[in-house]
């Protein structure tokens, strides 16, 4: 099932297309589940780069439109911020 060119989907966590597809095969139907099974979206950029790609893969596999995908939960901080800066705030 894995594509012959195994693309990187999540750069921060080094997750490939076939890993995401495997998670979908295991029953993941939302980006939230893909995230928890593969870590795609848990990296430094918190999914800003990979979220769209994960949604596209989900949509393609599940026969939906990407915009029908349930959005993943967004959490603060919006950008990585050091413990020191936060402690001083």
């Amino acid at each position: 099932m894995a594509s012959n060119t195994d693309k990187i989907i999540c750069r921060c966590e080094d997750i490939t297309e076939s890993q995401v597809l495997e998670a979908i095969e295991k029953g993941a139907t939302t980006a939230d589940e893909v995230k928890r099974l593969t870590r795609a979206g848990m990296g430094h950029c918190q999914g800003r780069t990979c979220r769209r790609l994960v949604n596209q893969l989900l949509a393609r596999r599940l026969g939906q439109r990407p915009e029908d995908q349930k959005p993943v939960t967004q959490r603060s901080p919006l950008q990585p911020i050091s413990l020191k800066t936060l402690a001083d705030s």
Binding site: K26, T30, R36, G43, Q46, P77, P80, S82, L83, A87
Partner: protein, 380 residues
């Protein structure tokens, strides 16, 4: 009409407790149906910080945790997934003579129940065990090197896979809305989709919602959710610091994951925050770093990438519930009091054995559903 497949046992709740219990039952040959209203780990388990310790004060909890640690350490082979088990240790810090006294007494109890490697370390030794630890005002600590950490999502995914491979079923995005009963027995459950699933045994493993699920069966389950917030940093080089636990009013707990170098931590809010809310606060996001840097100042440049919150599921005495209920066939395995991830593997095994045996009395008397709830776990 499609007739849903029957199961012998229905488990409500796809967190560590439901998944571990389901795994042991499925392995024993029961047809298990695990029902989860969200995705697996949508409740507390996906929000916990993955700490695993054996330093408790009651015999029941210490013995269970010795067993859990054995499970965690062989999980990679048993479940076929890397759950990132790492025995990085736990260090409980004593900044007052009273804490020191209490920890020394606890250590004696823990050793007598078989936790052999727990020991008192003085402030200097604590600094050795936890490089970079600020030992100003520190008298020492209770240190157990065989305590550790694992990755909750992998653990639950591993259990769920094994339930499926044993012929069991896992229904996600399926909320149980009613418990069917008749003649004093449980008969099955109804879901929000209107489906009825029949089974002679139904297990309430609904974590922070155990009270609500109990009420569907007319059973009072004394579990109260309490909000706890957490944060996680980017990954940095692994520093070999054990889980640090500072019980002072302005203390907290945090550890670094061995597998990716992220720091993860939380503190217990004073006063506590009852209820199901899992909102995050700015107060926590600025306060937790202060508490972390007070203990390990060198972490200043490490960046926080995310905060969230989840529920502890407290019982009045700080001990879990693992018992049958007055409704025949309806079991309660809940109220892990903020230790459910670590207790899960052993609780799941105990629960499965209890259910298989059909025994009337719960395997651990102090976890009975109808108990006095007067004693308090000191290492809460």
């Amino acid at each position: 009409m499609k007739v849903p497949q029957n199961a012998d046992i229905i488990i409500i709740g796809g967190g560590i407790v439901g998944a571990a219990t389901g795994y042991h039952l499925a392995r024993a040959g029961y047809r298990v149906r695990l029902i989860e209203k969200g995705f697996l780990c949508a409740g507390s388990t996906g929000r916990c910080i993955g700490g695993i310790r054996q330093q408790f004060t009651s015999q029941g909890s210490i013995r269970l945790m010795l067993e859990s640690v054995r499970h965690f350490s062989s999980m990679k082979e048993e479940l076929g997934v890397d759950v990132h088990w790492h025995p990085g240790g736990y260090l409980f810090l004593a900044h007052s003579p009273e804490k020191k006294e209490a920890f020394l007494a606890n250590i004696a109890v823990q050793q007598s129940f078989g936790l052999k490697d727990v020991r008192w370390v003085d402030a200097y030794q604590a600094g050795q065990v936890a490089p970079g630890l600020n030992i100003d005002g520190l008298l020492g600590g209770s240190y157990c090197p065989s305590d550790g950490q694992a990755y909750p999502f992998a653990v639950v995914a591993g259990y769920a896979e094994r339930i499926r491979s044993c012929g069991g079923l896992v229904n996600t995005f399926t909320e149980v809305t009613a418990i069917m009963q008749g003649g004093g027995r449980v008969k099955g459950v109804k879901t929000a989709q209107g489906t009825e699933y029949h089974a002679d045994i139904v297990i309430n493993a609904a974590g922070p919602w155990a009270r609500e699920v109990g009420q569907m069966a007319g059973i009072e389950v004394p579990v109260e959710p309490e909000r706890h917030e957490a944060l996680i940093t980017e990954g940095v080089e692994y520093l070999n610091i054990p889980m640090l636990v500072d019980y002072r009013a302005d203390g907290g707990y945090f550890q670094q994951f061995r597998h990716n170098g992220q720091f993860i931590g939380c503190y217990s809010p004073v006063p506590n925050v009852p209820g199901h809310s899992t909102d995050s606060s700015y107060e926590f996001l600025s306060e937790m770093p202060k508490r972390m840097l007070k203990l390990v100042p060198a972490l200043g440049p490490v960046k926080v990438i995310r905060q969230w919150s989840g529920s502890y599921e407290n019982t009045p005495d700080g001990n879990p519930i693992l018992d049958r209920s007055p409704l025949e066939g309806f079991y309660v395995i809940a109220g892990m009091c903020g230790h459910g991830f670590m207790l899960g593997p052993a609780i799941g095994r105990q629960a499965a054995d209890f259910i298989k045996s059909g025994a009337k009395e719960p395997p651990i008397a102090e976890f009975a559903l109808q108990r006095e709830f007067s004693r308090q776990e000191a290492m809460k």
